[in-house]
């Protein structure tokens, strides 16, 4: 001890150590008193609570955001679904209860037990879903026998409901149950296993807005698992509603017109890029996906030759065929390969190298200006124009018109199409570009590929004087009380690389396609307004030159695709449409009437009231 005393200056630190010891004592006494409080004073109460395990969490599912069309018509809603759940801990004997239940509601015992097995063995007190969306009859039976079914409950949860089955199915999309990997990515912080998330279409693209947040209750339950007291509630937060740019009545019309045929229709408002219609045929019923699609139905969809699960408006790539001649015309005019007055004589074929390239009209079109060549869709004229411009310059103009790149629509899996260049062919096939191939692509055949949406955006740009818009499908996102959460503004993505005179000239040609005496789509002309458009017939397989085909006897799947793009009214356009009918043979006969009927309805010119009535003549 004297040794320490020598260090008199260390005494103060010793005092502090003793003070610290005192602090620790005080804290430990405090902790002990808390223990006494919990275990002695409230011990009985907690023992009782623990014996029935009666404080539990019940989750409250939120409503997913609704989806409306541009006229505030409700397209996608939620409906209550009555789900049969079971709390294993509360059931006297799980197999007995389940077997009694299965005999009552006439459901297979094995299926019900399967769902219990799937939930794993940790969830003694968590409700396990035995069957989703039971029928009213089953509900009544279960309710009547509820005291003989310990642990069995009915949960009412909002479930997605697509009001118009099969309509706009590709655009709206569908839901699917979240999987384990997705839960682990932490991309969906509010999603729990068993929840559904958007899998396709706007349901997927706008998932974060639509989702909302789950709520829940802390409840006290009795021995049978029935709620006796609600301790605390966290209300769920509904998802936000989407207001689409879609015009649903026009969409319905387009789908009715496509019926049974493969193909796609896209309509766009040229003023801002609003997507008025996006139809792909054949479609599917989104309601089939709710609560998990059955294997059988999924197989049917997958094996269907018409690819119903593909959104052909953005995912299918077709040769643009003669609709591409507008691009060739713009390129040739801008590159000064031709001018407004230059003419070409079409004898029905064009000889290049040692080969004859045929015009679709075997008798030829005679002498033509560019405007006449567009109206009559003369191949020979554009063979020569394209040849002068060359493949790479053509590609440059095509890219400028928004082709060969994705439009940027807010949907997954959009394809970008293909606009070939000499360099592309070299890297793809290790072959150099053949001059003859330039002739093919000048009329939109060969390697060229476009999507119906790209053609609609391009046509809308022709209509509005050259501005390319990103196709907009959602206008506003509002919360459940109607406040705007997010406004999506129109967005310009580029402009057609052409002078005003060039555009005017091309548009005059397009006007003549419908309004001119020799126009290829003159059959859809109406008296009230003028329309401008372009037909196209995309070859499905290449025919040998000069060989004759009896088209009537050709298998449907080998027949050509029919294209038609148009805008109306020609002078101040309010709608641009692109239509493709797979194996529809001719643009003028298969595709153009679809667009014509839609224009009439959109402008309020048609006898659209008559449409719904049964046809008079049998």
């Amino acid at each position: 001890m004297h040794e320490l005393n020598k260090n008199a200056d260390r005494d103060w630190i010793k005092q502090r150590i003793m003070a610290a010891g005192l602090c620790i004592l005080v804290v430990f006494v405090l902790l002990f008193l808390r223990l006494v409080f919990l275990q002695l004073i409230k011990g009985e109460e907690y023992r009782r609570l623990s014996e029935t395990n009666c404080v539990r969490l019940k989750s409250i599912k939120q409503s997913r955001g609704l989806i409306y069309d541009r006229n505030k018509k409700l397209l996608v809603d939620n409906r209550p679904s009555f789900d049969l759940v079971m709390v294993l801990e509360d059931a006297a004997s799980v197999p007995d209860t389940v077997s009694f239940l299965s005999s009552l509601i006439n459901e297979s015992y094995a299926d019900l037990m399967d769902n219990i097995q799937k939930a794993g063995n940790t969830a003694f007190y968590k409700p396990v879903t035995l069957k989703k969306n039971i029928s009213r009859d089953q509900l009544a039976i279960v309710e009547a026998h509820k005291f003989d079914l310990p642990g069995i409950h009915i949960e009412i949860e909002p479930t997605r409901y697509y009001i118009y089955p099969k309509m706009a199915s590709h655009l709206l999309g569908y839901l699917g149950e979240v999987n384990r990997e997705e839960l682990q990515t932490e991309k969906y912080p509010h999603v729990k296993s068993g929840d559904s998330i958007g899998r396709y279409g706007v349901e997927k693209s706008f998932e974060p807005f639509l989702q909302g947040e789950r709520g829940g209750r802390q409840v006290e339950v009795d021995v049978n698992g029935r709620v006796v007291k609600v301790l605390k509630t966290v209300p769920p937060v509904s998802g936000n509603d989407l207001h689409l740019t879609l015009d649903f009545s026009l969409q319905q019309m387009a789908e009715d017109l496509l019926k049974d045929q493969g193909g796609a229709v896209v309509a766009i408002d040229p003023a801002n890029g609003d997507v008025l219609v996006m139809a792909s045929s054949p479609g599917f019923d989104q309601n089939d996906f709710i609560g998990g699609i059955s294997n059988e139905k999924w197989r049917l969809l997958m094996d269907h030759p018409g690819h119903p699960m593909t959104n052909k408006a953005i995912q299918a790539e077709y040769p643009p065929a003669s609709t591409y001649k507008t691009v060739t015309a713009i390129a040739a005019l801008e590159e000064k390969a031709i001018d407004i007055h230059s003419t070409t004589f079409c004898p029905g074929y064009y000889v290049f190298g040692s080969r004859r390239y045929h015009c679709w009209s075997r008798y030829g079109h005679g002498k033509l200006t560019v405007q006449e060549a567009i109206a009559q869709s003369c191949d020979v004229f554009f063979y020569q124009a394209g040849e002068k411009v060359g493949v790479d310059a053509l590609a440059q103009y095509a890219n400028g018109c928004g082709l060969g790149r994705a439009t940027g629509v807010a949907l997954d899996h959009e394809r970008s199409g293909l606009i070939p260049t000499a360099a592309w062919k070299r890297s793809r096939y290790q072959e150099s570009w053949q001059a003859g191939e330039t002739l093919s692509i000048s009329i939109g055949q060969g390697f060229n590929l476009v999507t119906p949406l790209q053609m609609a955006v391009f046509t809308a740009a022709l209509a509005n004087g050259g501005t390319l818009y990103r196709p907009r499908i959602v206008k506003n996102i509002k919360d459940s009380s109607g406040n705007i959460i997010k406004k999506i503004e129109p967005e310009i993505t580029g402009g057609i690389p052409a002078s005003r005179q060039t555009l005017e000239l091309v548009k005059n040609g397009l006007l003549d396609v419908v309004q001119g005496d020799r126009g290829t789509a003159r059959s859809i002309r109406i008296k009230e307004i003028e329309m401008a458009g372009k037909t196209g017939t995309a070859q499905v397989f290449s025919r040998k030159t000069g060989e004759k085909f009896d088209n009537k006897n050709l298998a449907r799947t080998l027949q050509d695709h029919a294209w038609f793009v148009c805008y109306a009214p020609a002078q101040n356009p309010v709608i641009a449409i692109s239509v493709i009918i797979e194996h529809g043979e001719h643009g003028s006969t298969a595709a153009a009437p679809v667009a014509g009927a839609m224009v009439k309805q959109y402008l309020g010119l048609s006898e659209s009231e008559n449409k719904t009535e049964p046809a008079g003549e049998g």
């Binding site: 200056d9 150590i17 275990q39 907690y46 609570l49 989750s59 940790t122 966290v234």
Partner: protein, 369 residues
């Protein structure tokens, strides 16, 4: 040069106390991991914990070989190494549960923030040993310690691991107050804090950040998450009553009502199965452990050693206090394990390093240097 006095002075009592608490911990852990687990033999988590404990004892022996005064000389190197590890997490870290706090070393994952606790205590002890006086530290004295403290705390809170960051601040704060700070300094800093906190609350924080802090302070605001966990924990503890439900008889435990029952909430397993009696025994053992640590600080004739011993005792104390307080609903819910009882390799090793240093100081207090 081996000194026989090292063996003679070895603190066998302290080692025995550590082993006693560790054994109690294993018994509780056995019960916690056996819940709902069907099968024979030992649960793998239990076996892993035994291995960690064994490794911890090896670490303790390793530490005994080096004179603790070497740490005084090496403190900057250790500190730099630990900060380096913390920084490297940003590049090579393993994420889990929304934050990056692990470094993978092939066989094992380490948590640099755990090692940082020890390193910070060594650095602070080293700095304060030369500047302390009965009058207390002034602003100038506190500058260096403040910098040394803020760097790792910022790095850890950013991982984000708020719990460990705050724990580091609490340890540093207790060590600083322990070595005495001028009253003037305390009042100024305190006053500044009172001004800044409301200001930061109003201007600096976004709504969701405020909500998170409020929930942290008051778990009842999150009745479906931590609030529910606290209720279940309280039910488990209270239902143990005086003598408990018996070993392996806990129902809350068996039905997996308890969150993290083998790590942060392990005390509720003890309380449910062994009751007030069992908890009191553990509290007394912990109290003895802490007093023993303070006694080592008391008897050390070297200022560095005294502060170091105090710092490590403070580290153990805060973990015990925060963990037990949290499980009983007195404290915010932070991921702080219960020393020697909770499952977790990093925690076992860090605490064993701490105990090693305490034993080291204790056995070398005969020589003043």
């Amino acid at each position: 040069m081996f000194d026989r006095r090292l063996i003679e002075n070895f603190d066998w009592g302290f080692l025995a106390l550590i082993l006693l608490i560790g054994s109690c911990g294993l018994v509780i852990l056995y019960s916690a991991v056996s819940a709902g687990w069907q099968g024979t033999g030992l649960h793998y988590l239990f076996e892993k914990q035994m291995i960690w404990m064994g490794a911890g004892l090896v670490v303790v022996m390793g530490i005994l070989v080096i004179d603790f005064r070497e740490l005084d000389k090496l403190h900057l190197l250790i500190y730099a190494l630990c900060v380096g590890l913390l920084v490297s997490i940003y590049f090579f870290g393993q994420s889990g549960g929304g934050s990056r706090r692990w470094l993978s070393l092939g066989v094992v994952n380490i948590q640099p923030s755990e090692l940082m606790k020890i390193s910070l205590i060594i650095s602070l002890a080293s700095l304060y040993a030369t500047t302390v006086s009965p009058e207390g530290l002034n602003f100038k004295n506190l500058l260096k310690p403040a910098v040394i403290c803020i760097i790792p705390v910022a790095l850890i809170i950013n991982q984000p691991d708020l719990g460990t960051g705050l724990l580091l601040l609490l340890i540093a704060g207790s060590v600083t107050l322990f070595v005495k700070v001028e009253k003037k300094v305390i009042f100024t800093l305190g006053g500044l804090l009172i001004c800044i906190v409301p200001l930061a609350w109003i201007i600096g924080l976004k709504e969701y950040q405020k909500a998170r802090i409020l929930t942290f302070l008051d778990p009842d605001r999150d009745p479906l998450g931590t609030g529910y966990h606290i209720i279940q924990s309280k039910i488990a503890i209270g239902s143990g009553m005086i003598t408990g439900k018996g070993f392996l008889q806990g129902t809350q435990n068996a039905l997996s009502f308890l969150p993290e029952q083998h790590t942060d909430f392990i005390l509720s397993v003890l309380a449910e199965e062994w009751g007030l009696a069992g908890c009191s025994v553990l509290l007394v053992l912990y109290f003895l452990l802490l007093l023993w640590g303070l006694n080592i600080a008391y008897n050390c004739r070297n200022m560095f050693g005294s502060i170091l011993a105090f710092g490590i005792t403070a580290m153990i104390f805060w973990q015990i206090f925060i963990n037990i307080g949290m499980v009983m609903g007195l404290m915010p819910v932070v991921g702080v394990p219960l020393p020697l009882v909770s499952y977790g390799g990093s925690s076992v090793i860090t605490n064993m390093v701490g105990f090693g240093i305490l034993l080291n100081i204790s056995m070398r207090n005969f020589s003043t240097a």
